[in-house]
């Protein structure tokens, strides 16, 4: 491996929090088969938490995230 970039979080992003899952999945390089990282292995419970987090975000304060001065 010539270079390995700094890895991002190996967790799930749910409701703004990086959540650790019980199990993880290995990520291997297709180019040489080496282990390069691990990622979260979400189950139905994490997915359910994420859907609820979206529902909360949507019904509340952030339905319109676009500010006037950000418009293009």
């Amino acid at each position: 491996m010539q270079f390995l970039p700094q890895m991002p979080p190996s967790r799930a992003l749910i409701g703004g929090d990086w959540v650790v899952t019980q199990a993880t999945l290995d990520v291997e390089s297709p180019s040489n088969g080496r282990l390069i990282s691990r990622i979260a292995r979400c189950q139905a419970s994490e997915v359910d938490g994420a859907v609820r987090a979206v529902a909360d975000a949507f019904s509340g304060r952030v339905a319109h995230v676009l500010r006037r001065d950000h418009r293009g």
């Binding site: 491996m1 010539q2 270079f3 390995l4 970039p5 700094q6 890895m7 991002p8 979080p9 190996s10 799930a12 992003l13 749910i14 409701g15 703004g16 929090d17 899952t21 999945l25 990520v27 291997e28 390089s29 297709p30 180019s31 040489n32 088969g33 080496r34 390069i36 990282s37 990622i39 979260a40 292995r41 979400c42 189950q43 139905a44 994490e46 997915v47 359910d48 994420a50 859907v51 609820r52 987090a53 979206v54 529902a55 909360d56 975000a57 949507f58 304060r61 952030v62 339905a63 319109h64 995230v65 676009l66 950000h70 418009r71 293009g72």
Partner: protein, 409 residues
């Protein structure tokens, strides 16, 4: 700072993650990061230009339509272009006012996690974007079947797409399905053959052929077939396969399963009399543990063979010959897929006749767009799926119409 600019500022790290994770060349990965930033710029600019209509109705009424976001958008995306498809799906959904639960592919999602990290670090409100990595049969299945999602966008294989659409249908959730292709490149004798040749090679080796819009069939007019194929064979023979980091013409396939499936298919093809007119080569330094399959140009293919019908998802170009326009049209439409088509001819009438007659979501005349074209609606017919992503159509597809009728007397 716009999110597009934030992505651009993190360009090299994102490209390096995409490269090591997917095996695609550094050059390709850099292009993909640029495309991702363009999606956020395009949809960010389009967000306040999406509006409904007023509809003439009876005299004492005023009627209007509003375009409303769905709310909870579920997105299941594949491993071949995680960075680009993050831009295509997430930017459009958020710009239309939705929030997202994104299930990236377990084979490659490091760039997606980095993009999510950048979004959080730069102030995206909690819950607007959620990322749930995991297996398709676990996290993916749970997401598609969740009763509280309000829209599902799925990009992947037709077989998994069927399962996802069935799961969503239980709760009457609308779906966009982008399911791959077997797209033809149709080359007539009067075409600019130099330009066609380069585009055809690029269109099949990009990302080692693991591109839904790959031009994986070459239909060439018989009178130029010998000359054109000999030129194409020269190009294929010169192609080199190596690690993504080595920035060769062609990288590895994503994993051992994809490699063994493709090799088994090629073995069956050989047994059926299919011949490889030319093959690329594996670079000397390439790891034996890499999932490499060299680019191949297949000829002498029996009619109806699987290499002409099925999406192989590898750097394999299947060649057929045709006599005239009518036969070209028949061959172009002889798969169940219909994503893209490339038409190479200088005859203007023929360009339009074929563009009308070819069964596909996109038609490229004297060019081939592969996965590019942020602004261009993209999607399939038949087994390639339904619904459109990209462009303004993609933004609309993340909204639903509410009709408001006012009786003012």
């Amino acid at each position: 700072m716009s999110f597009a600019a934030i992505i651009e500022a993190d360009h090299e790290r994102l490209a390096a993650l995409e490269c090591v994770d997917t095996g695609k060349s550094v050059t390709q990965a850099r292009g993909d990061v640029g495309a991702c930033a363009r999606y956020f710029r395009f949809y960010g600019g389009a967000a306040d230009k999406l509006h409904g209509e007023t509809i003439p109705f009876e005299n004492d009424f005023a009627v209007m339509t509003w375009r409303e976001p769905y709310g909870v958008c579920a997105q299941i995306i594949p491993w071949n272009y995680p960075t680009q498809i993050f831009g295509r799906c997430v930017a459009a959904a958020l710009a239309a006012g939705n929030s997202v639960v994104l299930k990236p592919a377990e084979e490659a999602c490091l760039s997606v996690l980095r993009l999510a990290e950048l979004a959080v670090e730069n102030g995206l409100p909690a819950g607007v974007l959620n990322v749930v990595p995991g297996l398709g049969l676990e996290a993916g299945a749970a997401l598609a079947a969740h009763p509280d999602i309000e829209h599902l966008s799925f990009t992947g294989s037709p077989e998994t797409g069927t399962l996802a659409a069935q799961a969503a249908a239980v709760h009457h959730v609308p779906v966009t399905m982008e399911l791959g292709g077997k797209s033809p490149q149709i080359v007539f004798a009067d075409a600019d053959l130099e330009v066609a040749l380069e585009a055809i090679v690029r269109g099949i080796i990009q990302n080692a052929g693991q591109t839904c819009s790959a031009g994986s069939r070459l239909l060439v007019q018989r009178e130029i077939a010998e000359v054109f194929l000999s030129r194409l064979a020269e190009r294929f023979s010169a192609l080199s396969c190596d690690a993504g980091e080595a920035d060769a013409d062609c990288g590895p396939l994503i994993n051992a399963r994809q490699k063994s499936q493709l090799e088994a298919c090629l073995e069956r093809a050989r047994a059926d009399g299919v011949r490889a007119l030319a093959c690329g080569r594996l670079a000397k330094g390439a790891s034996k543990e890499g999932h490499f399959v060299v680019p191949q140009l297949l000829v002498e293919i029996p009619e109806g063979h699987e290499v002409l019908r099925e999406e192989l998802f590898g750097p394999v170009l299947a060649v057929q010959h045709f006599e005239d326009e009518a036969e070209a049209m028949v061959l172009a439409n002889c798969t169940d897929f219909g994503l893209c088509a490339g038409i190479w001819t200088r005859d203007g009438g023929r360009q339009l006749r074929l563009a009308k007659g070819v069964r596909s979501g996109q038609v490229f005349i004297n060019n081939y767009g592969a996965a590019g074209g942020i602004e261009l609606p993209f999607g399939g017919v038949g087994r390639s799926g339904h619904g459109r992503e990209k462009g303004f159509e993609g933004l609309k597809s993340y909204t639903r119409i509410k009709t408001v009728a006012i009786r003012h007397g």
